[in-house]
Point group: C2
Chain length 360, copies 2
């Protein structure tokens, strides 16, 4: 059976990093088929829209999407619905990619890259599971209007709606408990139940679902406290599950704890394991085209694709071991370089992973 991958490089460093991930996939001798399509600013330039129908069509024919990155300051003045980031939101919604997996792992070789003390982060390995198609990201109604009530009734105001339905919370709960079961068996649900109706509901459902996972220890933490505990003692966490908005903030905070966001992959899955795989970092327009970007997060995203969508944990392991081996060899792109290691460019790093696969 051929595994079909929609390749959406996007903007900035997107093309460079995705090229290396494909080279790595190709080194595995799997039956892969690629369909390429523009997304983000690149798609806006070519088709007048960041997520054109032709790109969606390529994705619909595939089993998974390998996504680079989107965005560039030069599109800031476009109206919101034409801006590059809207492509990500559109893909999430179109394909129902409700479960976002964001590991925050600190490789021993890169412990110095963190702004935190080594003893606080050495060996960090947490998984943040962010709900990705609900919450205030997509809730209707939203917009501008005359304020209907309150102290400033009659004044212009803007508003959005946070909301979660029971089935939305249940399905992300099952994903999270399932993931925790395969790891350290501890799940922290992050909410703001002391203030928000939406998150009291969320918490109630998490507790309900936990009855089906007696082997997983569930605890609850307010989002403000979670933002603190991530700084204070991040290794105390195993799996964190939270809503779309809080997950946006906490997953980036957790990624930055490692100091090496250029190493962190992500997966966004729907109910039938169709997935979008992308690095956790952005499009970095300032270094685009220079051949210096770190391709490892994208390469590790391809590994996640093999694991989650294609059910090939063996092939995923091969890539992940190869990445560890290039780090052990001392190869570093500029973002993770330090004295005593060897600085390499994007293509060299990709080639080194390919060699490690072939050697392994």
């Amino acid at each position: 059976m051929t595994l079909k991958i929609a390749v959406l490089p996007g903007d900035g460093i997107g093309t460079e990093i995705v090229t290396q991930a494909i080279a790595v996939l190709d080194a595995l001798s799997l039956p892969l088929e690629y369909g390429h399509a523009p997304v983000g600013g690149a798609a806006y330039e070519a088709h007048g829209h960041p997520l054109p129908e032709s790109t969606l069509e390529v994705c619909r024919k595939a089993d998974a999407i390998l996504f680079g990155a989107v965005g560039d300051w030069k599109y800031d003045s476009l109206e919101r619905k034409l801006r590059p980031e809207q492509a990500i939101l559109g893909l999430r919604k179109q394909f129902g990619l409700f479960a976002n997996f964001r590991p925050a792992i600190l490789y021993p070789e890169l412990a110095n890259a963190s702004s935190l003390k080594p003893e606080v982060v050495a060996g960090l390995d947490i998984l943040i599971i962010r709900e990705l198609t609900g919450d205030i990201y997509f809730g209707q109604p939203r917009g501008r209007r005359e304020s209907p009530d309150g102290e400033f009734a009659g004044a212009p105001e803007a508003f959005d709606t946070m909301r979660y339905s029971r089935p939305e919370v249940e399905r992300i709960a099952h994903v999270a408990f399932g993931a925790a079961r395969k790891r350290g068996k501890r799940l922290t649900s992050v909410d703001k139940a002391n203030v928000l109706e939406t998150f009291q509901f969320w918490k109630d459902i998490m507790i309900e679902v936990s009855a089906q996972y007696p082997d997983v220890a569930l605890d609850h933490m307010y989002v403000d406290n979670a933002a603190m505990q991530l700084v204070k003692a991040p290794k105390k966490f195993d799996v964190i599950v939270t809503g779309n908005m809080f997950g946006d903030i906490l997953s980036d905070e957790a990624a930055m704890l490692t100091g090496s966001i250029g190493m962190l992959p992500s997966a966004s899955l729907n109910a039938r394991n169709f997935g979008l795989y992308e690095p956790s970092h952005g499009s970095a327009p300032d270094i685009a085209g220079k051949g210096v970007a770190n391709p490892l997060a994208t390469i590790l995203s391809a590994a996640m694709m093999l694991r989650y969508t294609f059910n090939r944990p063996d092939a995923a392991d091969t890539i992940e071991s190869a990445v560890k081996s290039v780090l052990a060899q001392g190869l570093r792109t500029a973002d993770i370089f330090e004295a005593g290691t060897t600085k390499v460019g994007t293509a060299e790093m990709g080639a080194a992973v390919v060699s490690a696969i072939k050697a392994g």
Copy 2:
């Protein structure tokens, strides 16, 4: 003119720390008058409500509120409107305390307390200004219902409303630009304009108001990026202004960067400089009554009260210098203790500040 202070010790360590702050205020020989009242769990025990009318009455007669802390696990099973935290939300709303000042300062003597590398945080001095009476905290409508539309129409759901009106954003903008003008003249407005209508509106108004403060450099940052930059390079910030929900998360994250949240005061002001002053930390029921809590955040909150509500910067300076001097003497409560310093209890720490004031 007598300065009238409503003293609301609250729960947990509240009474111990507030007692020390009052001792320090008394050492200044100012014309002060105190009215005491219970709040939070203590008020629920005494009057069946966390913010009873009798407590509000004491606050109404005062010019400022000195607040300890509220909350205890034992109230977790109460219905939400009776829980201790509701008292804080009620006071903010009743007195229109829309401007929350949360400094995150790392005292040189306490640099080791941080989980971040010393070079990343040494000398940290940032001010977070959080809007405190709008946003999704108070927006109506909110509640539970049958989902009106979308994939799960008909299913049970919970929802909340995020909203900001123009006058609400304008007034916090003026507070923030004014504060930045008195400091490093740099203001970062944190939003999520790429996703939320409310925060595109917020950003537009920040830009408009900035025209009146040509001496202050305004920049904009998405909340997810702000959560990262606080970990990566917190010293790059001067003043941050943001909404109620994002401010809840980021101010706690920033506080924890210092590693010494027991040192951090806060002020919540309304349009006529009536203010609620409280430590940034919580009620710590686990150490309540043991005489080991750090009273310095509360003492420094009293200093903020003198500065912002009573317009006595001289007296505020006196307290702040006294706190620096006890740190320089090597006195430490358990939360900030390290080898080579002298461990003291709550009362000893308060007494040391009083002595430093009398000596100075």
